[in-house]
Symmetry: C2
Subunit: 390 residues, 2 copies
């Protein structure tokens, strides 16, 4: 008998994600409306498609430099200065296969085994696995509905130990849609400086901001550049998920080491996709504005409708990303059970809050990155199913 090969202990720690599995089931079931999407339902901008085709035709099918094409890093330096007040030159930017790779590289170069990183809970579901993949420890800072899921600087400070090296923030946030205020970012910045930490701020949804909210980059705050790794992406802003282009901006010393570690991950992002991304930055303003306007219209619909459903409450109207994160505790069901209930009774797919951390219990994530009429229909179905519960 062959002995079973033992996998790394890391495997048990990182665990499994249920999101993809459940979304896969949905693909084959046309009767279900999915509010599970974690990506734009829009196609990529036509100018970006054209640009990608042009660069394919012109033979940009060879490796890109590990740090990314200089044309893209130069365009990003301008963008970061103008839009984020981040004063990064092209040497302080690295292009990756999505901002997720940038977060992994950041972790590889800053975290030793056993070091601690504070992550938001509920928060983007890849943060904990990435931190644990490099054998570091993820410590949750609990975010509360009563606080509009803001990171409370005082709660954060209590979690800092001698082993804390990094703090991961996400604004606008997945799954809550919360946009961090400048005031809170400034308070956290003071803590980062005082404790000599590095803040990794994931700004993948920076352009999906509604109402009076404004996106503020911590790296653009006075004196913060050397203490912050900013990650941004083309995936959400430009509906370019399938192109795999994201990036990080940080102190040159950090970026230089991240570049070295690209040799251990993907070597480089797709070349023609990087060049098409330059076109996205330069020529997609109207397209992005149009998408944002439509997201906002759907946001107003879903936030109004959700609060008309008994036992489901959305305390705060989220001002960013394309998610709502309503409280479902009054249905007397746990998050996972409520997800199963909606799937079987309402034929609507949503994601359990617990996918985003233990503190997500009692909530579900609903995405409005789907058509307006589908959201209407989904809300009708949810309302009808939940009313029958009483």
């Amino acid at each position: 008998m062959r002995r079973a090969f033992r996998l790394a202990k890391r495997v048990g720690v990182v665990g499994t994600t249920r999101i993809e599995q459940s979304l896969k089931i949905l693909e084959s079931r046309k009767d279900i409306i999915s509010l599970g999407a974690g990506e734009p339902d829009f196609p990529a901008p036509p100018n970006v498609i054209k640009a990608a085709e042009k660069f394919l035709e012109e033979g940009y099918t060879h490796y890109s430099p590990m740090q990314g094409r200089h044309e893209l890093r130069e365009a990003l330096a301008k963008k970061l200065k103008k839009e984020n007040k981040i004063d990064a030159d092209p040497e302080e930017i690295i292009v990756c296969c999505g901002s997720k790779e940038a977060i992994l590289l950041s972790s590889l170069v800053t975290l030793d085994a056993g070091d601690e990183t504070i992550i938001p809970d509920p928060g983007y579901l890849a943060f904990r696995p990435i931190v644990e993949a490099v054998d570091a420890k993820a410590v949750s800072v609990n975010l509360d509905e009563s606080d509009n899921f803001e990171v409370h600087p005082e709660n954060l400070e209590k979690l800092i130990t001698r082993k804390t090296r990094m703090l991961i923030l996400n604004t606008p946030a997945n799954p809550t849609g919360t946009v961090m205020s400048k005031k809170i970012l400034e308070e956290i910045a003071d803590i980062v400086i005082e404790k000599n930490l590095i803040a990794l701020v994931d700004e993948a949804y920076e352009k999906l901001i509604y109402g009076k909210a404004r996106h503020v980059s911590m790296a653009g705050l006075n004196g913060m550049f050397d203490h912050v790794i900013t990650t941004q992406s083309f995936s959400k802003t430009y509906a370019m998920c399938g192109f795999r282009v994201g990036y990080a901006a940080a102190n040159e010393k950090i970026i230089k080491e991240m570049k070295e570690f690209k040799l251990t991950t993907t070597l480089a992002a797709p070349t023609f996709a990087q060049l098409a991304a330059v076109d996205a930055l330069q020529n997609s303003r109207k397209y992005v504005a149009k998408m944002r306007k439509e997201y906002d219209r759907r946001r107003r619909l879903i936030t109004k409708r959700i609060n008309q459903i008994p036992n489901i409450y959305l305390k705060n109207i989220p001002q960013g990303a394309f998610y709502i994160f309503p409280n479902i505790t009054e249905t007397k069901m746990k998050s996972e059970k409520f997800v199963d209930f909606l799937l079987s009774k309402a034929k609507v797919a949503v994601i359990a809050g617990t996918e985003f951390g233990k503190h997500g219990e009692g909530f579900v994530r609903m995405s409005y990155a789907t058509a307006y009429d589908k959201i209407e229909e989904a809300m009708d179905r949810i309302e009808s199913s939940v009313r029958k519960l009483r």
Copy 2:
């Protein structure tokens, strides 16, 4: 004064690569002929470009499933069975952003901190950094020119300790061009089974085989599938480096865990690039044959010319990849010094053997992934410079 932020200890271990740096300098110097290339000089096949454009137009710009598009995994399952005698079904295949990511994922799921992995020296320069990135230890098995840089099973066996978990092989090999024989693969397979190891076999150059050599996949040997992770790529075979599509085949349990860890690396490979890769598998046979024929013509040129140069010896004619790895010890220069000498005196760029491990001292890597007439000119220049040395 701001305290300097301390980076992870890992940073010092993984170290820096000189290849990209030196190649970057060359881009701006038209007087230099580069034999440094680690990628095909050919453009991607026209049918692949057309297919990528078609899938871009059709809106395949959204995320792919983490494990990769099923169309591609199904086509790969057929390919692996037919060409490699590897009996993997689509669930036993994962698509990555290049086979490098597949090697990282393999390491993440099999190696705990402190575990040992045996790597070839000289060998592909990313093996050691990848193993060290997951806090495991890379142990070199020295390959000798006298042995045609074959992995000697006896030498390998001596290095196995209680901590050894993985063995990394590469056939055809970078930087030596050596194609592992079936006999040696079988002997190593016996050791892998006996010691309950996992063999990771990097077969990125599998299609670049010349003369009487045949590529043999260890995973296709009787009873070996569950003990081998096979990585292959579209980059070298189809000149698709810029598309970032590679893959691994292995036991379903391993692939399932690798898929989970995609959440920590890149989530998925570029979607339209994966679909274009299906077209590569189906419709690029002639193009690949044409490239291989031209590589072979260059190989015959460079191997003949190199041995006419005094004090440089190529003991064995390599039968795979697109590199030669000649011995330069009789020039009385160390590898790095000889590289500098060629760059300044002959205006030819080559890579120091020490980039591929300590045991690469006394050798340099020359790539023939460049035009025939440039190789001729480079050989003229090298010969003239070396003759002046005497």
